[in-house]
């Protein structure tokens, strides 16, 4: 067998999805319109930046605590950095300073370029400063640093978008205490309840990725998102069929999925 046992379905799933994404991208390029849903957290960004401009305060950004871009958490960190680009263009227009805290040290060049590009696009290259990117060694020391800075500087808004773990409740509550407008988002499902509880807007699970796509808005980004709903429908179909087959004692589908 060319494909390892137990991974055939995974193979079909991965490349089947890729083909589907490609088809939808092409459809979109040929004029078919897909509506990407409204994402309130993204739409709240101008408000957050506006508030900072009004109060003369910076906005805080935290793309999560993934230790390296090369890990699974790196995907969420990367999405967080893409969304940072969007925020930075609003911030550049309003002249609001972004202060960023991160432990993903190997993402530093990427963060730097994202900010520099966003500022340059608005003709505000002078806004960039290396000092606004604070790299911190690990998760818990970042927590101590962030909540300390929040109290001292009292930012008017904060974004926590990326791979978040236990710190989400601490950072969000610290921001809440000073009345900052907070936008959050994570794919770590254990943290969703805390973010929903303590921040004003939350990107839940895949919305983080959808938001990163909405940032660019072109066919290559939006098409696959529309196709994703198709993969959900397929999953639903399999589950409904399986639910009917199980009581009849037919194990065919279960066996098939194990392939």
């Amino acid at each position: 067998m060319i494909i390892k046992d137990g991974r055939i379905v995974a193979f079909v799933l991965l490349f089947g999805s890729f083909i589907l994404y490609y088809i939808f991208t092409r459809m979109m390029e040929q004029g078919k319109a897909f509506k990407i849903r409204r994402l309130a957290p993204l739409e709240a960004m101008p408000e957050a930046v506006g508030r900072c401009a009004e109060m003369g305060k910076p906005i805080y950004y935290m793309p999560g605590i993934g230790t390296s871009l090369s890990l699974i958490s790196g995907a969420y960190t990367l999405a967080g950095i893409t969304i940072l680009g969007r925020l930075a263009s609003f911030a550049a227009k309003a002249g609001v300073r972004i202060r960023l805290f991160t432990v993903t040290i190997d993402a530093m060049p990427l963060i730097q370029e994202t900010l520099k590009n966003a500022y340059a696009a608005e003709g505000r290259t002078e806004m960039y400063s290396d000092d606004d990117i604070e790299l911190i060694a690990n998760q818990s020391s970042l927590v101590s640093r962030y909540i300390g800075a929040v109290q001292r500087e009292k930012p008017a808004a904060a974004c926590l978008i990326g791979y978040l773990a236990y710190e989400s409740v601490v950072l969000a509550e610290a921001g809440n205490l000073i009345g900052a407008l907070q936008i959050s988002g994570t794919v770590n499902l254990y943290q969703i309840p805390f973010l929903v509880a303590s921040t004003d807007y939350t990107l839940i699970m895949e919305e983080v990725f959808a938001a990163a796509a909405a940032v660019s808005g072109d066919a290559g980004a939006v098409g696959p998102i529309a196709a994703e709903d198709m993969t959900k429908l397929v999953s639903l179909g399999i589950m409904i069929l399986g639910m009917i087959l199980a009581p009849l004692g037919i194990k065919f589908l279960v066996e098939l999925l194990r392939m």
Partner: protein, 209 residues
């Protein structure tokens, strides 16, 4: 040269991805070690890149000291001195008594303490979130409280029914929500990977900018 500077690197993620994923699916021997080496390469790159963080730390705090920024520079000295001392001690001998003392009494303590501080924040977070404004919030509240009372021995003392309902909630009760969230996270991740691979994600390795 401009190809090397501005374009060639965009193909590297695709190449590396292809090697790892082919190794994952196929039984071709020989790819396994390459894929494993690539993962190790990533670890090495990240570890070497840590120096960027050290530079950032020394620059930010060094500037504070140099400019005598009020209310900050003395603290910045503490940061720099702590870093330099412990780092040098560690380089000399990681099993040395002084380094281990700092590790055990300062670092370990701070780690445990900061992590545990969530115990405070989780309560104030719940105090605000757990309000039965509508049926959705009421369900969150009730299921949360039952689990809390299931985990604590006192719950059983109050009512023997708590662990019974709680164990159901911890098992099948929460499973559909958990599964659906896992599923959409998974499907969303695959889409995202596709966008990065095809260069449709912004950023310097994307098509845009």
């Amino acid at each position: 040269m401009s190809f090397v500077k501005s374009t060639a690197f965009k193909y590297i993620p695709i190449l590396v991805f292809a090697i790892i994923i082919v190794d994952y699916f196929s039984a071709i021997t020989g790819l396994g070690p390459i894929s494993e080496y690539l993962r190790q390469f990533a670890v090495v790159i990240s570890n070497i890149a840590l120096g960027l963080g050290v530079i950032s730390l020394l620059r930010i705090h060094g500037k504070n000291v140099q400019r005598r920024v009020e209310g900050r520079w003395l603290y910045s000295i503490v940061t720099i001195v702590t870093f330099v001392t412990v780092f040098i001690l560690g380089l000399i001998n990681v099993n040395g008594e002084q380094y281990q003392w700092a590790f055990r009494n300062v670092y370990t303590t701070l780690e445990q303490t900061m992590y545990a501080s969530t115990g405070f924040f989780i309560v104030s977070s719940a105090y605000r979130a757990f309000r039965a404004r509508n049926i959705d919030a009421a369900l969150l509240l009730v299921s949360g409280c039952i689990v809390v009372l299931t985990n604590a021995p006192i719950g059983e003392v109050i009512w023997t029914g708590f662990p019974v309902i709680g164990d159901w909630l911890l098992g099948p009760g929460q499973l559909p929500g958990y599964r659906a969230l896992m599923l959409i996270a998974g499907l969303g991740t695959i889409v995202y990977a596709y966008r990065v691979i095809t260069g449709n994600e912004r950023g310097f390795f994307g098509r845009g900018d």
